[in-house]
């Protein structure tokens, strides 16, 4: 069953520009300069029920704009979309009962009260029956492991704990689709992983469709089967994550903090991006040298105080996609 259907969706923002100085202010008052900023250009895709889809791209690519249109809080300039059979911006209030939304930068929990109170309030707002609510809450508390945090005021929770509560809160009314806009932003690696795992489990247990945006390619690798890469408002890749990884993510960056001076590394596919003092940043071409092997040899060769292995930045993945396309 198709849960999301998007066709030719476009959004162009019109902003009023003001030029600097008094002259500029006066002019802006009488004849404002209008600038058109295209945020989303003619995108088309379909999402089936139970799918886990990642919508990734660099900052400003149009991810948040797209989600806002799908949730109904932004009107498109042109194009169509159907979410659970409804046009989001026309039937926003009705649609709200069937979808959940977590916006990474915006909290929906009352800051000075414990999450339990916010949950109660949300249950009322979404008109969830008391009995259903109790069961649902127990299930979510156990799944997200937030039992210990329920009675602690939200302002005292760590970002990771808060995020788990936020996601739980968005699921109280048993939505069929969960929209997550940058849910792991600002979280450290371990916490990110945990949240990804929880969302995965939720999807597997309940079949909730997951639509996730992120500028972190790591969110994609673990959590989603399908990825859509968006850049400058256009979808430049729509396919399986495994294919994306195979075709475009060929390198990893390794950041090291050494306990001794750097003396170089002998091996193909390893490039030193920079090194200052005891810090070194390497780029490893994983098609040539498997990452485990490189890391293993580094650990054997040097005394290492800290090591981080990262995916290439989004920009690089996108650059590769463009190169491939144009080739």
């Amino acid at each position: 069953m198709t849960t999301i259907q998007v066709e030719g969706l476009t959004k162009t923002f019109i902003t009023r520009e003001k030029q600097p100085g008094l002259r500029g202010s006066m002019r802006a008052l009488f004849r404002p300069l209008r600038r058109e900023t295209p945020a989303v250009k003619d995108i088309t895709f379909t999402v089936e029920e139970g799918e886990r889809v990642a919508f990734i791209g660099p900052n400003g690519a149009g991810k948040s704009t797209t989600i806002k249109m799908l949730v109904g809080i932004l009107h498109p300039t042109s194009g169509q979309a159907l979410v659970l059979g409804k046009v989001p911006w026309r039937e926003r209030a009705r649609l709200a009962y069937d979808i959940g939304a977590v916006f990474g930068q915006k909290s929906q929990l009352w800051y000075h009260l414990p999450p339990a109170d916010s949950f109660d309030l949300l249950a009322r707002i979404y008109e969830v029956e008391r009995a259903t609510y109790r069961q649902r809450l127990d299930y979510l508390v156990e799944l997200f492991e937030i039992g210990d945090h329920l009675q602690v005021p939200v302002r005292k929770l760590s970002l990771g704990e808060r995020m788990r509560c936020e996601i739980a809160a968005s699921l109280l009314h048993h939505p069929r689709i969960l929209f997550l806009d940058e849910p792991t932003i600002g979280l450290d690696v371990v916490v990110k992983q945990r949240i990804r795992d929880l969302i995965l489990e939720l999807n597997q247990q309940e079949g909730v469709t997951i639509f996730l945006t992120s500028h972190d390619a790591g969110d994609v690798e673990v959590l989603c089967k399908r990825a859509m890469v968006i850049n400058h408002g256009e979808v430049i890749y729509d396919g399986r994550v495994s294919t994306l990884r195979r075709d475009y993510i060929h390198a990893k960056t390794v950041s090291l903090k050494l306990g001794e001076p750097w003396q170089g590394f002998d091996g193909p596919g390893v490039e030193v991006l920079k090194h200052t003092g005891y810090g070194v940043k390497l780029k490893v071409d994983t098609t040539v040298a498997p990452i485990e092997e490189v890391v293993g040899r580094l650990l054997a060769q040097y005394s290492i105080a800290d090591i981080t292995v990262d995916n290439p930045p989004m920009e690089e993945i996108i650059a590769r996609i463009y190169t491939r396309r144009n080739a």
């Binding site: 019109i14 949730v71 809080i73 009705r94 939304a101 929906q108 009352w110 009260l113 005021p153």
Partner: protein, 262 residues
């Protein structure tokens, strides 16, 4: 409807978290009443009269206690709303199946109600200890409670309106400042309307401000059924007007939100 009631309740409970601040607010009530009791005692003493504009000293003091109780309980929800507008957060509130302004109205009332009760108690204690008289009747008290509720409703509606104006004007605090000063003056907070010159009294009688401060306090110290009925009618009328205004303003604001994305 019940959902908004729950919002109100949650907001009221949050006041308990701020109880230290509430305690400090009580002190301002004590100071205010202390100063004005002294002021009016002197004024009455100097004038040599038992009544000024129809008010005995005790009635004057209790009048002030009541207006101050209301004013100290007024809403600051416009701050929350205007900041949400400026931060661009408002778009997200549309994702919930609730009407934002009425959500904020419930929030505001939930915020004002506990403060009102606390202020009333504090004022009553301070004044009774201060002048050892109670210048009001049980009927007056009942009328006061009912009308003060309507008054706080009006105040919350105005606060929501001020908050929403952030869509069009950058800084809303001047608007609030003007509103507050109007409450102090033509609202009859410091001086009951009986002390105004006739022309000003007539003008003030039509404005919404006196329905927030003057009429509940007056009903307490000088209960009179006709006055109460007329005043309540006025309060209700203004409440309806404000609700309509908020609905219209919000529709415009929403249009901006969904087109410009907050």
């Amino acid at each position: 409807m019940i959902r908004y009631g729950f919002v109100l309740w949650t907001s009221a409970r949050q006041q308990w978290v701020y109880r230290a601040e509430l305690g400090l607010r009580c002190i301002s009530m004590v100071l205010f009443m202390g100063v004005f009791m002294a002021l009016w005692s002197t004024a009455f003493g100097v004038s040599g009269q038992q009544e000024l504009a129809g008010y005995r000293l005790a009635e004057m003091v209790w009048y002030l206690a009541m207006t101050e109780t209301i004013v100290l309980s007024t809403s600051r929800v416009f701050v929350e709303i205007s900041e949400a507008v400026k931060a661009g957060d408002l778009a997200y509130t549309l994702a919930r199946p609730l009407s934002y302004p009425f959500y904020q109205l419930a929030n505001s009332l939930g915020n004002s109600a506990p403060r009102f009760l606390l202020n009333l108690l504090t004022a009553a204690v301070v004044v009774t200890l201060g002048i050892r008289q109670v210048a009001g009747s049980p009927a007056g008290l009942v009328a006061f409670l009912g009308m003060a509720t309507l008054a706080l409703l009006l105040d919350s509606l105005i606060a929501v309106l001020i908050g929403l104006s952030a869509f069009w004007i950058e800084e809303v605090s001047p608007a609030f400042w003007i509103y507050q000063k109007l409450l102090f003056t033509v609202g009859g907070m410091f001086l009951p309307l009986e002390m105004f010159p006739q022309w000003l009294r007539r003008v003030a009688g039509w404005l919404p401000f006196q329905f927030i401060t003057y009429v509940p306090a007056r009903a307490f110290v000088a209960f009179e059924p006709g006055f109460v009925l007329r005043s309540v009618a006025g309060q209700v009328m203004y409440a309806v007007v404000l609700v309509v205004l908020i609905t219209v303003v919000w529709q415009r604001a929403q249009r901006r939100l969904v087109v410009h994305g907050g």
